[in-house]
C-alpha cells in the first residue's frame, strides 16, 4: 500500500478533528475531536513505521521500527491521563455553571 494513502487518510481524520474543534461548542465533543486528532496521528505513525520497515536503508539499527509503535503507546498513555483531567475539569465546570458550552463562560476577554 502506498504511504500516500495513509497520509491522506490520517490527515483527513486529523482535519475532521480540527474542524470539529472549530465548529462544535459542546466541550465534550470538542474534547473528543481532539482525541480523534491524536488517533489520526497514531495511525500515521504506525504507517510510517511500516514504511521504514519496508525501506532497507534503516535495516541496520536494531529496534528501528518498534520506536514508532512504542511512541504510539505513549501517546495513548498521555491521552488517557489528559482525558481523566480534562473530564474532571469539564465536570467541575458543569457543577458551577450547569453548562458544557465552551462559549458559555466568557468572563475573560479583551
Amino acid at each position: 500500500m502506498d504511504i500516500k494513502a495513509y497520509m491522506a487518510l490520517s490527515l483527513t481524520l486529523f482535519t475532521i478533528g480540527i474542524i470539529g474543534v472549530l465548529v462544535r461548542r459542546n466541550a465534550i465533543i470538542v474534547f473528543m475531536c481532539i482525541e480523534l486528532m491524536l488517533n489520526a496521528v497514531n495511525l500515521l505513525l504506525v504507517a510510517f513505521s511500516k514504511m521504514h520497515a519496508a525501506s532497507d536503508a534503516v535495516k541496520a539499527s536494531a529496534t528501528y521500527v518498534s520506536d514508532a509503535q512504542i511512541f504510539v503507546f505513549f501517546i495513548m498513555v498521555v491521552a488517557a491521563a489528559e482525558v481523566s483531567v480534562g473530564l474532571a475539569i469539564i465536570v467541575m465546570l458543569y457543577r458551577n455553571t450547569h453548562s458544557v458550552d465552551i462559549n458559555f463562560l466568557n468572563r475573560l476577554k479583551n
Partner: protein
Amino acid sequence: MNAIVFSAVWGIVMMFSSVFIKSKTTPKYLAIAGAILLVLLNSWELYSGAPLFDIDSKDMILTNSFNLSFLAVVHIGTLLFFLLNARDIEKVGEHVGEYFALIFFVLCGIALACTYNTLLFLFLGIEIISIPLYILTGSDKRNLKSNEASLKYLLMGSFSTGIMLLGITFIYGGNINASFFINNLVLGEGPLSPMLAIGMLLLIISMSFKVSAAPFHFWTPDVYDGAPTVFTSFMSTIVKVAGFFAFVRLFENSFGKVQDQWQTLIAIITVATLLFGNITAVFQQSVKRMLAYSSIAQAGFMMLAVFALNDMAREGLILYAAAYSLATIGFFAVLIKMNDYTIEGFNGLGKQQPLLALCATIFLLSLTGIPLTAGFQSKFYMLMATAQTGRHLWLVIVAVLFAAISAYYYFRVIQAMYFKDATGDPLVEDSNISIGFKILLSITAFLIIAIGIYPELLLGWLYH
C-alpha cells in the same frame, strides 16, 4: 538527571505529606526544603558532572553545563517563588500539599524538556508540564474565572499537543534513520523534504503555542488572568522560559544547520509577538492582565534567541530567563498582596509601602530594560545575538521600538505608585507583609541589580 529524578521523587513525597500532615502550614516547609535540595543536587551535578542517580537513559537524556546551568536558574527561581509565595499558595485552597506536589511534577517535566534528546521526551516533558498546569489553573474551584481559564487552557493545550504530535510524526516519517533522536536527524542537502518541512513547521507552531508566541498566544491572557495569581506567577515565568529552552534546544540540535529555511518564519513570529504583546498591553486596566500581555511581549524578545541560535543567544537566554523570572516573580509577589489589581489600586503605594513600591519599581525598570538592571543586560544580549547573525537587522530596530513602547505600560504602574495619591483606605493589609517577605523582596531586587551590573555572576557557569 538529578533534577528529573529528585523532583519526581519529591513530588511524590509532597503528595503523601498531605496524607500524613494535617496542618495546612507545614507542607510549605517541606516544599522549600525540597527546592533547596533540588538546587544543591543540580548544582552538584553541574560542577561535578557526575549525576547522583546514574540511570542509563539510552542517550534519551543529555546533560551539559548549558542546560544544567539553565536548570539551576529555574530551580533558584522556584525556590524564590516558594519563599515569596508559599503563604499565598496556602490561601488558594484545601489541597496545599497537592499543589506543591504538582509544582514539583512540573519541575520534573521542565527538567525533561531541558535535557531531552529524543522527541519522545520532548513530548512527555511538555505533557508533564501541561497537565499539572491545567489542574493548578483550575484549582480555585469556586471562582468561575479559574474554571473558565482551566477549560480554555485544557482544550487549546491538548489541541496544540495534537499539532505537535503530527509534527513529530512527520519528522519521524521524513527521517530516513527512522529515529526520534533529535541529533540523529538526516536533513539532506538543499531544501528540506516536504515531510521534514511540514514536521518542522508543525513543531514551530506547537512550541510557539507553548511559549505563547503570536499568533498562537490567545490562550495566554485569559489563562494567566483566570488562574490563581500565585500560579500565574509560576506559569508565566519558570514554565515559559523552560518552554523557550526546549524550543532552542530542539532547533539548535536538529534544524540548526538549515537556519536559512526557517529564520524568516521565526522573524515573522517574533514581530507578531512583539506587536500583539506590547500594543495590547498598553490599554489594559488590570495589572494582572497587563502582566499577561507583557509576558507575551517578553516572549517576543526571547524569540530572538531562537532566531539567532548562537553563543550570544544561549547566554542571553539564560540571562533573560533569570532576569525575566526574577522580576516577574517579584512583581507578582507584590501584586498578590494588593487588595485591588487594577492600576488605580496602586495609586499612592509609594507613600504607604515605600519598600514594596521601591522593589516593584526596580522590577518594572528591569522589565522595561533600563541599564544596570538584569533586564537591560538580557535584552542587550538578545539584540547583540540578533545583530551578530547579520540577517534581518530590521528585526533589531523593531524590537527596540517595541521596547520603548513597553515603557509606556510599565511606567503607568510606576506613575500610579509614586505620582498619584491614594484614596485613603490601605492598599495592602499590613498583616500579610512579614519582615521576612520584605527582606526576600529586597534580596530579589538586589539580585536583579547585581546581575544587571555584573552578569558574569550568572554566565560564569558557562565559562568554567
